[in-house]
């Protein structure tokens, strides 16, 4: 199957090696533990394994079978056929890190295109070849800011509007370090806007982290916050949903020093949580502080334009315990997916999908806030997601509508105590007006149930 040797091949090879049996190759291993009997189910053929996995998958009801308004950091968008067609090219997906640029120009040039597009989209100067996901990208921003100030500014302000998983990830990463995290521990209200974070900034603050749109879908102009942050000598990091940037001002325009994001919405399937794509872009002056791989332009010895991994001296394989991050891989194939997606959609397509999300979400919000008992939690401008205050437990409403094959959104009570009646509703281009009307009818009906 996947190992081509015949018995004759193996015998000939053993003869060359000068031993009789394959087992002899393992004579240095502790004898009493050698060759354990593994308790695993018996092997299946391809036909059987496909059937088994289809059966397992059958037990899932997906966003394609249910009507779903679930977002909260992962979004149900359409991925054009071209994206997967390119991802399925073995030359891309069965290659590894382009350590040998002479025979890896495909991967390298694709990374360069990715860097260019994400830098352009975010309004930043440089972008790395990606981090694991939107959460770890924020953790790397914290790490970068900490090292940038050589530990002298250990305080990091996290807006409560940053995705709960991202904040939790940052806590895990920094538990054993000098970094202190404030902002989401009750120092400000959950609905705090950027101006309410400003009083938390002091001369030990290294980084302020906000989201755009934030977890509740709200969009803020962060220009004043950026000014205050810079006046205090700190850095500003903005976590984005890149689809929103098809329509909205680039965070670079606000004065962000670091832009991170979850790139899943750029043509990457939901796939129960991963693999996704961690965006990370920054200003030119911080390029050497940024962790992660980078492709740079150069020429080969025949005078041809070509690309190579550059600034590798910052990375763990050279700096070892002096590296600022241990990151080694990037999300290569997912960065390629995002690149193909953005290339195909182009400037018209991205604007179009961004607007579709915006209009549909606003239609939904209008309709829902028209139902007696429901109201929008915030009157702040929003993109494609919004928080609704329900007349009773959001979880109960959600459970009830699930019985009718409708995922009404995300009840945020488990992440934000006191918000047990609040439902976070996301709308994408995949939701038709009919879906939305059905959601509205369901939300209304459930009150009488």
């Amino acid at each position: 199957m996947f190992t081509p040797h015949t018995k004759a091949d193996q015998d000939a090879m053993l003869t060359t090696i000068g031993i009789d049996r394959i087992e002899d190759l393992f004579q240095y291993l502790p004898a009493e533990y050698r060759f354990p009997d593994l308790n695993l189910p018996p092997a299946l053929t391809e036909i059987e394994v496909l059937t088994e996995l289809q059966d397992i998958a059958w037990a899932n009801d997906t966003t394609r079978e249910l009507v779903s308004f679930l977002g909260a950091g992962a979004y149900n968008h359409y991925s054009p056929a071209v994206v997967d067609a390119i991802l399925r090219r073995g030359e891309f997906y069965t290659a590894y890190t382009p350590y040998q640029p002479e025979i890896s120009q495909g991967t390298l040039q694709a990374i360069f295109e990715y860097q260019s597009m994400i830098a352009g989209l975010t309004g930043m100067d440089v972008c790395n070849a990606s981090h694991y996901d939107g959460a770890t990208a924020v953790a790397e921003a914290v790490n970068m800011a900490y090292h940038n100030f050589r530990g002298k500014r250990p305080k990091v302000i996290l807006s409560p509007g940053v995705h709960p998983h991202y904040r939790e990830t940052v806590r895990t990463y920094t538990r054993d370090s000098e970094v202190t995290l404030v902002g989401d521990q009750g120092e400000v209200e959950v609905d705090a806007g950027p101006e309410e974070l400003i009083p938390l900034i002091d001369d030990t603050t290294g980084l302020v982290v906000v989201a755009y749109p934030d977890f509740f879908g709200r969009i803020f102009d962060y220009s004043e916050l950026a000014e205050a942050v810079h006046e205090a000598g700190a850095l500003l990091s903005i976590s984005v949903n890149p689809i929103a940037l098809g329509l909205l001002k680039a965070p670079g325009e606000f004065g962000a020093d670091i832009v991170t994001g979850e790139g899943q919405s750029l043509g990457i399937p939901l796939s129960y949580g991963g693999p996704y794509l961690g965006l990370f872009a920054t200003r030119q002056k911080y390029v050497r502080k940024m962790a992660g791989r980078l492709a740079g332009e150069t020429v080969d010895n025949r005078g041809q334009r070509a690309y190579v991994l550059t600034l590798t001296a910052r990375e763990q394989h050279i700096r070892r315990d002096r590296a600022t991050s241990n990151i080694c891989t990037n999300q290569g194939l997912l960065a390629l997916a995002a690149t193909v997606y953005l290339s195909l959609l182009g400037r018209h397509g991205l604007r179009q999908v961004s607007e579709l999300c915006y209009h549909k979400a606003h239609y939904a919000a209008d309709q829902i806030s028209g139902i007696k008992g429901y109201e929008l939690w915030s009157d702040q401008t929003f993109f494609n997601e919004f928080l609704v205050r329900c007349p009773r437990s959001a979880q109960e409403i959600y459970d009830h509508l699930l019985e009718h094959n409708l995922i009404a959104g995300y009840p945020v009570g488990k992440d934000y105590p006191g918000f047990e009646n609040h439902l976070l509703i996301a709308v994408t281009e995949m939701n038709t007006k009919e879906d939305i009307d059905w959601l509205v009818a369901g939300l209304e009906e459930v009150l009488n149930a």
């Binding site: 050589r150 050497r288 550059t310 590798t312 001296a313």
Partner: protein
């Protein structure tokens, strides 16, 4: 390999030129050769900063390696070489001259007694090339 007789050396391949109470610090010819083409120099130390012997004062990067530069003798930074930021290749072409990195006011000149002289440093290099 060029190892000027009038300098003192650290085992970590820094040199220091001591004139009165002033020291000038850089990295050696051996070090630049091991690094190959230097593409970036960052002086970490700040003007007037007081550093101890062994504290990092600069970082040097080539395409295949990165090295921290440590102060061979403690002191207060009196001058830093800004030219290296734009022309890091000076480290390769003139390691003992134009590529000096920082100048310091020595806090304890006796610390220099523990450094290597040119002969001892020469041996230190040869051992590593073998």
């Amino acid at each position: 390999m060029n190892i000027p007789a009038d300098l003192k050396y650290s085992e970590n391949d820094e040199w220091i030129r001591i004139e009165g109470n002033t020291g000038t610090v850089g990295i050696t010819d051996f070090a630049q050769d091991q690094l190959s083409d230097v593409v970036f120099v960052e002086i970490i130390a700040e003007q007037d900063e007081e550093l101890n012997q062994g504290d990092a004062c600069a970082t040097v990067e080539s395409v295949k390696a990165a090295a921290d530069v440590y102060l061979p003798v403690g002191g207060t930074i009196t001058e830093i070489n800004e030219d290296l930021l734009d022309t890091p290749e000076l480290v390769n072409t003139d390691p003992y001259g134009e590529a000096w990195m920082v100048k310091i006011e020595l806090s304890d000149p006796s610390q220099a007694d523990g450094l290597l002289d040119a002969d001892a440093y020469q041996k230190h290099c040869e051992v590593r090339l073998a």
